[in-house]
């Protein structure tokens, strides 16, 4: 009983207990959103050791909630997607992208289709996918919405709702796969990493759903930190956080993101994403 009370108190401290001397971060991984507290609690512990300050993890579910928390200084560091990072840095002057996942330097999305459509893997997005039903992932996702929409507009010169006879937002990559696999939606687009992971775990039946096109690469997830942290946590704090992230090599910690390792990143790396977001009027 005492143990469970202790657990509850801890959980609450994790969520709401951040105080002025606590360095707080959030992360919405692109796959496996379960047990966030447990998994990222370990990351907090690691950062705490490296930085010698109290570090807490706050679980946030939607991109917009994460951006809001970052903007209101409830979290000072965040593991953002490409689009949400651009947006956050747009809203919080002086905030900087400090590191990205190794894979995020050349991220990509897969267009997938139900077998009944007859679409096959091609070097170019097939023009005849027009007039099918099409689902994105979450509205604020880079790999499930922003970049695919950009490539679609390039190919068809039209917004998605003019290209397809119906456009939906499944809200999640796993759900996109489930929906296209069941034939409810004919075509969809997913984060390639989620596809590979679900394929490996046997959730995908290749007789029913298949990749029909791979997008060009683009930068995606990155760590973004508020510029004003140095006033609270001392000079060179940003540098120290960056070092701590870049030297993180415990597979158990990296698995939470899941990334091989982190590599340096700058705001400029995301200029392309920013241009696309502006063009599509998402910024």
């Amino acid at each position: 009983m005492m143990k469970s009370i202790f657990f509850i108190v801890c959980a609450w401290l994790l969520v709401f207990g951040a105080n002025a001397t606590t360095f707080t971060f959030t992360a919405i991984p692109d796959q496996d959103e379960t047990q966030l507290n447990t998994r990222f609690g370990k990351v907090a512990e690691y950062l705490s050791q490296q930085l010698n300050v109290d570090v807490r993890y706050v679980p946030v579910k939607s991109y917009s909630a994460a951006i809001t928390a970052f903007r209101n200084n409830q979290v000072q560091l965040a593991w953002f997607g490409g689009l949400s990072g651009v947006k956050a840095r747009h809203l919080v002057p002086n905030s900087v992208a400090i590191a990205q996942g190794y894979e995020d330097q050349f991220f990509k999305s897969y267009f997938i289709a139900h077998h009944s459509t007859g679409f096959k893997l091609a070097g170019q997005l097939p023009l005849n996918i027009a007039d099918s039903s099409f689902t994105f992932g979450s509205k604020g996702s880079t790999s499930g919405r922003l970049m695919p929409e950009y490539f679609l507009r390039q190919r068809f010169n039209q917004p998605p709702n003019k290209i397809f006879n119906r456009v939906g937002f499944s809200g999640d990559h796993s759900r996109t796969i489930a929906l296209v696999q069941s034939g409810a939606w004919q075509v969809g687009v997913v984060n390639y990493a989620v596809w590979e992971q679900e394929l490996a775990s046997g959730k995908i039946d290749l007789n029913k759903v298949n990749v029909i096109w791979t997008t060009p690469t683009y930068p995606d997830y990155q760590w973004t930190i508020r510029g004003d942290v140095e006033q609270r946590f001392g000079k060179r704090f940003i540098e120290r956080v960056t070092d701590a992230l870049l030297t993180m090599d415990d597979p158990d910690l990296l698995k939470s993101f899941p990334r091989q390792k982190f590599v340096p990143a700058t705001n400029a790396d995301y200029d392309s994403v920013k241009q696309v977001a502006k063009a599509i009027k998402l910024l």
């Binding site: 469970s4 657990f7 509850i8 959980a11 609450w12 969520v15 709401f16 207990g17 496996d32 959103e33 379960t34 047990q35 507290n37 447990t38 706050v58 679980p59 946030v60 579910k61 939607s62 991109y63 917009s64 909630a65 951006i67 809001t68 928390a69 209101n72 409830q74 947006k87 809203l91 009944s116 039903s133 689902t135 979450s138 509205k139 604020g140 119906r166 456009v167 939906g168 937002f169 499944s170 809200g171 999640d172 796993s174 759900r175 489930a178 929906l179 696999q181 069941s182 034939g183 409810a184 939606w185 959730k203 039946d205 029913k208 998402l282 910024l283």
Partner: protein, 462 residues
Amino acid sequence: MLADIELSQTDPVDELSRIFWGILTPDLSQTEDLIATIATTLCFALVAICLSAIVGLAISPFHHLWWVNGICTFVRSIHELFWALIFLQIFGLSSLTGVLAIALPYAGTFARVYRDILDQGSVDFNQAFCGRVSGVSKWLYGGVAQCWPALTRYTRYRFECGLRSATVLGFIGLPTIGYYLETAFSQGLYHQAGGLLLLFYGVIATIKYWLKAMLIPVYLVLAILYLPWKLSIEWQYIWRFISEDIVPSPLRSTLIDWQEWHSWWVDVAQQVFNGGWATLMLSFAALLLSAVLTLILWPLASKAICRRGYMVGHGLLIVLRSTPELIIAFMVMLVIGPSMLPAIIALALHNSAIIAYLLARTADQLPLRHDKSSGLNLWAYELQPRIYPSFIAFLCYRFEIILRESAMLGILGVTTLGFYIDSAFEAMFFDVAMMLILASALLNMIVSYCASRLNRSRQLFG
């Protein structure tokens, strides 16, 4: 047919069997902080309902004033989820955000329904007062005391709604049961989702056993102690939200670009008209189907009609009304493909289960003659005609709610007003979101005005 309904060929068997297998073999061992999650859900609902019931009761005597009525209609026409997103900008992820997001729209509902209940109950009673009796004592003795059973019965029912709302708030990240349910469901972890759903059904089904009037003050104190209130209200964020975020973007700079201003309006107007039309179509269709389903569902949960078998119907209604619409819509969509139809079915199933529950309760309180007929004859000839006024009234109440719940179903590619509001919040365009919210509030107010004109009957909560 103006509504967008279309069937497509799908092969849903795999996914559906995974879902049902998950529900049949629930597993909660992978869910972290389970106890804390349930506690938070209960606390949010309890604190929010107590707060909104008190505020609603205090406002109810003034509900006939047009501006009070207007404010109440306005606050309740905005979905809890959107209130939460607004408060999130101001208070961040805190208990206050969760409690206020539920309490505010609920206070609007309480003010209206309390007023209706008091109006029905106290008509004759007020004539019994002679001499000079102060307005307050008249209201307390003639109204509140007189209608106490109906008031508490309604409040108790709203507590169940509050639990559902608290759950839904989890979808955006407040640490309620919905947080884990949404995660598990969208990631296809159906064992866990099934476990959470069953747990939630259990909580709803047992409310009457643990929510005792005597214990409410105790629960309330515990809930307030349990929820972390430590929060620093940063006035700068509130000010920023009012003075900057919700100001139409072209107006923010000192030099107004009229071109931009024009295109901003065109963009918003397009969303308002597209969204408003789709919302109305969806809501009317869902209302019609709700009416039909209610007729079939309520007798199943009525003791007078089904005798002991009513427990089965009761259980069915709990499942239907406690499963988030999003999940129902997802399952229906797996079978018939995306269109407005799964949204209509999901909204109708959910809302008809709620109306059916209320109707069964109303019907079972009606006095019946000793030589009454039984079973279906009793339903068709006696109970249904007698509860017809309540049936219509409940449908009107729920219509408002259907309108605003249509927001939740963007997954179906149905572009309702709620879909656009959600998109605007997601893109952090608060100026657009505010304009769309105003539009949907206006739509709601028009509909609720029309409904109140139509709904002349006053024998609601018999």
